[in-house]
Amino acid sequence: MANEGHVNRRTFLKVAGGSGLAATAGCIGLGGDSGGTIVLGQPAAQTGQWDFLQPGVSQATDVAIQQINDAGGPLGNELELQRRDTGVDPNEARSVTTQLIENDDAVAILGLFSSEINPLWDFLQEQETPVVTPWPGSNFLDTNGGDHDTPDDLSDDEWVWRTVISDTVHTAGAALRALDQDHDTVGVINGTTEGARSWADGFIEAFEANDGTIAERIEVEQEQSSYQSALDRLFGNDFSAFAVSMPLESATTLLSDWADGEYGRKPILSDPLAQPDLASQVGSALDGAWAASPGQSGPGYDTFESAYQDGGDAEINAWTPPAWDVVNVTALAIERAGEASAEAIEQNLGPVTRGDGTEVSTFEEGQQALEDGDEINYQGAATPVDFTGFGNVVGSVVINEVQGDSFEQVETIPAEDIQEFVPEGEY
């Protein structure tokens, strides 16, 4: 009578063991089998200085995954996203990446900023899991990352791919426009984060390469209560425009100080600063300031936009279309590989984006073409996504100008016009 209504130990162990095995099988990559789950990991900026950009990226990622799953999923499996916050802190990013790969069994990492990738470079190489990210502009990645145009040979791979154009490209666009507007001498003020420095470095290099002169460059810490001393120093120099590269909240403080101090001259903003909040907080003094941002002119932009609008109300920023591209290109790589392993994805990211295959702009189109035995060339929302050997993409640059309380797109600089700044073999 003592065992009545109870499960004996042997039965319990059988059930528990079987359930564990089934659960494990359901979570890991399932090779070519269908009906399971494939986990993708997304380190995210849900907190920290860049958190204002995450809602758009999250929404783009979610709608892309939903659309792929609605089409049957890669190899008939359901894509599942694990999103974990890093706060754009390298130490946290290291923990999160480890968790995603080791605990969540993610077969690819769909995120990480320049500020996280650069200090964690060796660690990321050791993981041997592809990092396909919409975030990093760092010029460090100009010659680091990708498969070096040898997709089948993993020995020379550097595992990091980005679907957003490099700072080298759009800072060149900013430099060219500044010179076009007769700003021959400019000042530069930038924060100390990797991303902020990288933007300033790229701008200065392109500006000086075209015979522009930098009057003075000043670095300042983020989250200061006042930037008046730095501004006073910068504006002690003779120049007609000044470039600002800092996280949004610090830049808002700095530019409010600039407006209060009535320093004048034209602000040139780094691309993350093209946010309505900045324009509304600083006020009319900012009218006419402009930012050169990665263009949203990929062949698949319209497809992305219509799906995106149905997914929520987060604003589209420069990293939103690249986030859509990240998911699609990864899913297509799995589909082409015929298995959902990190190595297989790494070997197929290049082949689904390069060459003369059938041009596709959604997973469903790509899946169909692959089933028909064709090669494919994914056409992205932000750029055409033709991955170079270093895992980079080339695209146009748009100029967004402050008009009232918002940024308006006033000009597009085609990719061909700035191609000279990304010489073949060095990008």
């Binding site: 670095e219 300042v220 209560s225 006042s226 008046q228 001393s229 006073d232 002690g236 808002t252 101090g261």
Partner: protein, 302 residues
């Protein structure tokens, strides 16, 4: 490059720090603990103020933030610090570090992403035509400006100093605070209700944190790290001035503010990002020369 202009900037920065550092150092001197959660008290004040500003004029919103800061400080003290009053400074220090983490994340969850802003307008007043008084490339006077926002910050700081001085020298509770700061056992023997005085200190520190939070929020924005990003400067100012001394904290705050402003203005351009580090370098040098800090109260315990 004008020295006078940068001195103005340094005084404004010092004023933010001073208001908060007084509260921080009062807790150290009377409750005998370093409260690392104090930055979060500023954040609570800043959020209370920005919420109140949605319905009230800014001065009343600032008052609401001060009341909110005081109440929050007292409740947190009753919940976390009063029960371990007798365990010594190290357990209280560790508790404050843990409390700070919890509060920061609780605020993050409650307040959500992104920064909030006070809706303010600023007027700028230029002082031009001053005589040229140059030493090398540095103009000792030079043209300079102040904004209405700067004047409000400095004005609030001066008001706080005057009220604090009157409180500490003219009221029974203030005199009791100073007595406890000198020798708690002796104060108790003389009939001072030490727990009541501790409670009063918690409230006063919270009120000052609330005001500092609002002023920083007006100058920058209100987010989850509003207070945390300033706690090291507040700590440095309190120690530099002589931990436990409110007058020393005021002096230490202005030294920190001036060093940050002047190092940004005059360091080589490749080193301008190190202005906060320069402030800490000054702290180290001062403590090496005078370990008791500016006002003479030596730090011997955590």
């Amino acid at each position: 490059m004008g020295l006078a202009q940068n001195v103005v900037f340094g005084l404004v920065t010092g004023s933010y720090i001073a208001i908060a550092a007084i509260g921080f150092t009062l807790i150290y001197g009377i409750v005998n603990m370093i409260n690392f959660a104090y930055g979060e008290y500023l954040t609570i004040g800043a959020f209370t103020g920005v919420l109140a500003a949605g319905a009230l004029p800014l001065p009343l919103a600032a008052l609401a933030a001060m009341v909110g800061g005081g109440v929050a400080s007292l409740l947190l003290a009753w919940a976390f610090f009063t029960p371990i009053n007798d365990t010594g400074p190290v357990p209280m220090l560790l508790t404050s570090i843990g409390l700070g983490l919890v509060l920061r994340n609780a605020i993050r969850i409650a307040a959500g992403q992104g920064a909030r802003y006070y809706d303010t307008t600023t007027s700028t007043f230029h002082l031009r035509g001053l005589p040229d008084l140059s030493v090398g490339s540095v103009d000792l006077l030079g043209n300079f400006f102040v904004t209405s926002r700067m004047l409000v910050v400095v004005g609030c700081a001066v008001a706080v100093f005057l009220v604090l001085h009157a409180l500490l020298t003219r009221t029974d509770i203030g005199i009791a605070m100073r007595a406890m700061g000198d020798d708690e056992s002796l104060a108790r023997v003389r009939g001072i209700d030490t727990q009541f005085v501790r409670n009063a200190v918690w409230v006063l520190a919270g009120v000052l944190a609330g005001l500092a939070g609002v002023l920083i929020g007006i100058q920058t924005n209100v987010n989850v790290t509003t207070g945390f990003s300033h706690i090291l400067q507040i700590l440095a100012a309190a120690i530099l001035g002589g931990a436990g001394s409110p007058y020393g904290a005021i002096a230490g705050s202005y030294v920190i503010g001036l060093v940050v402003a002047l190092s940004t203005a005059f360091l080589p351009s490749s080193m301008t990002g190190l202005s906060s580090a320069m402030a800490f370098l000054v702290l180290v040098v001062v403590l090496l020369v005078k370990p008791s800090g500016i006002a003479g109260t030596e730090v011997r315990e955590a």
